[in-house]
Subunit: 225 residues, 2 copies
DNA sequence: TGTACATCAGTGAACGCGCGTTCACTGATGTAC
DNA sequence: TGTACATCAGTGAACGCGCGTTCACTGATGTAC
């Protein structure tokens, strides 16, 4: 007669009461997050398999369930632990940029571009799984990050319009949409941008890419006589 | 002893020789394309199942194989028969727009936006499956359409720069990238754009959306003193 | 200090399921003679 | 005109496979006494 175990380690994982401490060798949870981040960004949520992710993390598929309960929660964990800090980092830099609206927008564009060239999977993951109509995480993310980021930018635009720095015949929301369009798309359509158009999107060209976006957004391409 | 059939209807389908004509009631091939287009655009390629597509088309899964051989070819057929004509329509309107570079860009933006509000699934499908790094159709499409469309726009930019209409300190390729960014992203990030920013992306607002994109691209948002 | 035991992190093997694809087959259709 | 037959569009049922998930179990760890 085998002993009956009623312990489910997924319930009340928090208390951390008596048990054994770490003695751990390597952080398998982090390996899983790494592998999941990579797979979700490259193959999409539906195109990724837990088995493949576990294999890449050198871990059993059962461990994915042990730490993250199910596939959707694993994606949620990637967003929370890997994406969110990056976005909050950008938001903080923008908040610290000072009152000048042009400088604040410059900080946003440079900070976003620098983050994106270092983590090109982030915009891809966000667009595929969060901002698309059928994204698995649509609701959760939209509320937590997108709203905060866009309202921050919107305030900068409005401030600039009040100060006379920006034209008043452009809706602030539409301006935010255009600014994000300029910044985000190059990282989503990489094969078009670097393959067909021959524009390099990497760390060495981040500055000039950001400056180009700012130039277009602020001044457009029409010649001033 | 059952008769041995060696006919494989997937081979030499072209000759169309003696056989029986149509007598057809409904076009099941077209129903499959409709359902596939809908499913691929909404759930992505990996997230769509042939069985679900067949169910939606009121057709057996075996028929999908009968007409399209496999899942990847079904996507290819959707691109060829549903996406390509729309893109070629835009290209034709731009080609017929006359020599003025500003008018030509205006034609592109209005034509693209009008097409996209009528078929919002097109940009979504292109970005998800064609322009993303792991897209199933990346190679095929990039060669066939993206190159043609971007080189058409690039020529307009260069022409405008030579004529002094556009500033010369912007790389033509980068300008094309920015113009496409402005036009495409609103249809990819619909939940952000219409949900969070409150910008309506539909037939009734297509004109003003296109005008906004043109305004930003040509003049930017900085106030002219 | 010694020891019984609750709890820990983690595993191996299997579960049922839906997937893309295959294939033998049907019956209507048009053709050749 | 009549009829044997090749070809047509389309189907039903099954194939093997990989999927996400489950669960009984192990052995190390730390605690209570």
């Amino acid at each position: 007669m085998p002993p009956v175990r009623t312990t489910n380690p997924l319930r009340n994982r928090k208390p951390r009461s008596p048990g054994r401490p770490v003695a751990g060798v390597r952080d398998q949870r982090a390996s899983l997050l790494d592998a999941a981040q990579h797979s979700f960004a490259h193959a999409g949520f539906a195109g990724s398999s837990l088995r493949q992710i576990a294999l890449e993390a050198k871990v059993t598929p059962a461990l994915a369930h042990y730490y993250f309960a199910d596939k959707a929660s694993l994606l949620e964990a990637v967003i929370t632990h890997r994406v969110a800090p990056l976005i909050q980092g950008i938001a903080k830099e923008v908040a610290d940029a000072g009152p000048d609206p042009i400088a604040a927008l410059g900080t946003f564009v440079h900070s976003y571009t620098a983050t994106a060239v270092r983590n090109p999977w982030v915009p891809q993951l966000i667009v595929r799984e969060v901002l698309s109509e059928q994204g698995v995480l649509r609701e959760a993310f939209a509320v937590r990050f997108a709203t905060a980021m866009t309202s921050q930018l919107r305030k900068i635009i409005v401030r600039g319009q009040r100060a006379g720095t920006f034209r008043r015949d452009v809706q602030p929301a539409a301006a935010v949409m255009s600014l994000m369009s300029l910044c985000v798309l190059p990282f989503i359509a990489t094969p078009l941008v670097s393959g067909v158009l021959g524009i390099q999107v990497d760390a060495a060209h981040a500055e000039s890419l950001a400056n180009h976006h700012l130039k277009i957004f602020l001044d457009g391409i029409e010649a001033t006589p």
